[in-house]
């Protein structure tokens, strides 16, 4: 009873650059399919936002297998943006997803600035999407992807182009594979970004000793999971200090304590990727864990914690 009453008093909702989330937990693009795959294991209506698999203008088949590999406290993936293309997503997948009342975020990738703009225009015309995450940081495709995310000028251009096509919150997802994350974040801001998503995967690889060749079909892949958490926290800390935009933080979150670390260094909301594979109910559990924490600490809402550890 007491708990019931208290729960009403704490405010777990987040406004991420204009995008409303019922709680600060998002599931990260590429780790949760299109929202349906995990529905037997977790109540998806209790997740703050579901960011769907990266979508391109045309259908993509993705990379050769092996596409994934486990590394110490992490994993490599080189899916290669396998997806049915934006039209199939919007026309065939979206309608049924909308009915669940889940906050759906699109994650898009283009080969050119124009493609990003074109995909965004298509999304803007369809109701049911709460925001657009710009994947300018995918290390697993030949064209586009990460190269956009490592050049401040291109980052600005992409964001601008997308902003001119949509009124939806635009959230560029930054690559950690850069010398100066702050300059990239500033470029995104200058382009008109509503929030920042960080970080995408670190570029890595693994070697098959028996066969004496790279493990992954694509040679390189993106490193995710707990291994990268220290790097993600550092970059968010740096950007929070210098750039006045809300941050969707993630990289290696597997429990409530991890999520708190991200919030304390400046993330307004957090995304869970690899953690879903370890525990499919993780998003719901961490949402609850954060709420309990806010109550225990006697706070009014989660927002009071954002950036509290930044000196």
């Amino acid at each position: 009873m007491t708990k019931e009453v208290k729960q009403v008093l704490v405010d777990m909702s987040v406004n991420l650059g204009g995008m409303k989330m019922q709680n600060p937990i998002a599931v990260a693009s590429g780790t949760f399919g299109y929202g349906r795959e995990y529905q037997d294991f977790v109540d998806i209506t209790r997740i703050g936002a579901v960011i769907v698999k990266g979508t391109t203008l045309e259908e993509r088949y993705g990379n050769l297998a092996p596409r994934i590999y486990e590394t110490p406290a992490g994993m490599l993936n080189a899916i290669g943006l396998e997806n049915p293309g934006i039209d199939v997503f919007l026309n065939d997948y979206l309608p049924s997803l909308r009915q669940d009342g889940v906050t759906l975020v699109a994650n898009i990738a283009g080969n050119t600035v124009d493609e990003y703009a074109l995909i965004s225009r298509k999304i803007d015309k369809h109701p049911g999407i709460a925001g657009i995450e710009l994947n300018i940081s995918c290390p697993n495709v030949k064209q586009g992807g990460m190269q956009f995310g490592t050049d401040p000028e291109l980052v600005k251009q992409v964001v601008q182009a997308v902003k001119s096509e949509t009124k939806l919150p635009v959230i560029p997802k930054l690559s950690p594979n850069v010398t100066d994350i702050v300059s990239i974040a500033k470029a995104a801001r200058d382009g008109g970004a509503d929030a920042l998503s960080m970080i995408n995967t670190l570029m890595g690889m693994a070697v098959d000793i028996e066969r004496k060749r790279p493990v992954l079909g694509n040679i390189f892949g993106g490193l995710s999971g707990p291994a990268i958490k220290p790097v993600a926290l550092r970059m968010i800390y740096q950007v929070y200090k210098e750039v006045d935009l809300p941050i969707l933080g993630g990289g290696g979150i597997v429990n409530t304590r991890d999520a708190l670390e991200f919030i304390l260094v400046g993330a307004s909301a957090v995304s869970i990727g690899t953690g879903n594979f370890v525990n499919p109910a993780i998003a719901e559990e961490i949402a609850q864990g954060l709420e309990n924490y806010v109550i225990e600490q006697g706070l009014n809402g989660i927002n009071e914690l954002v950036g509290a550890a930044v000196l």
Binding site: F32, F41, A65, R67, I79, F277
Partner: protein, 260 residues
């Protein structure tokens, strides 16, 4: 519907050199399970190893809600699995994937290689219940790396064994033994699981004699539910697109698969 359950370990013991058998109670999963499906298991609480490990359903007792696994210690994950003690809880997702097609009243051959025998026991049980005539061929490198055929024998199913070193049964390839032991005209269907080279030999024979069948494939997995697109594989029939072993499989029509 698959679910996530804390299984209660009943037993976990060595049954061969690197071969172990684990029994646990997970009534929810057991009730939903079909032969050829798999469970996705968290082998430790720490972050290394991080990912779950997929294991086939070796046997199911739906009345007791009991699941039995047969696993080979292949690396750190399966090694950690072997450390579980009775009365411990184990974090299991399942049943996952699509299982075998269960025929009715046919004459079928099951060919298992190594730990690939695992899904064939539960399969044999269910095929037996459907009035099929079943013969099992089980191959391995050596007897000490194989489980006992008793569980098949107890089902009333014929099983013949082949080993590369001749330590038990026929000496040589299980597929060679099979070819000399069966009359292709009397066979309706093949089910096979094991090394791809072995399955390829079965498939080749099946093509020659125009017999259909199914194979169970493996790929490195992360999610196990079709969300990560990691366990991709091209089929002969899908052109450039990839199927997902975890969701579209692990069982596929034998003649759709390009075995390596």
């Amino acid at each position: 519907m698959p679910l996530s359950e804390k299984g209660l370990v009943i037993s976990n013991q060595r049954v061969g050199r690197d071969l172990w058998e684990m029994e646990f109670l997970a009534p929810g999963i057991a009730a939903e399970s079909k032969p050829g499906q798999f469970v996705h298991i968290r082998v430790g609480d720490d972050h290394d190893p991080l990912l779950r490990r997929p294991l086939s359903l070796y046997d199911i007792d739906q009345n007791l809600g009991r699941i039995t696994l047969l696993y080979k210690i292949a690396g750190r994950g399966t090694n950690l699995l072997s450390k579980f003690n009775p009365d411990q809880l184990i974090d299991v997702m399942g049943p996952l994937g699509k299982g075998f097609n269960l025929l009715q009243g046919r004459r079928v051959i099951l060919v298992g290689g190594g730990v690939g025998i695992a899904p064939l026991l539960f399969l044999a049980r269910e095929l037996q219940a459907r009035q099929n005539e079943i013969a099992v061929f089980y191959g391995g490198s050596s007897s000490d790396e194989m489980c006992s055929p008793d569980r098949f024998v107890n089902l009333g199913v014929g099983i013949m064994t082949a080993t590369m070193d001749g330590s038990t049964g026929f000496k040589g390839l299980v597929t060679d033994m099979m070819k000399t032991s069966i009359d292709p005209l009397s066979i309706d269907y093949f089910y096979t699981c094991g090394p791809e080279a072995m399955m390829a030999a079965v498939a080749e024979y099946a093509v020659q004699h125009d017999i259909a069948g199914e194979v169970s494939l493996e790929e490195y997995m992360a999610c196990g539910v079709g969300a990560c697109l990691g366990c991709a594989r091209k089929l002969k029939v899908t052109d450039n697109a990839y199927v997902k072993i975890c969701k579209d499989g692990p069982v596929f029509p034998m003649h759709d698969v390009e075995l390596r």
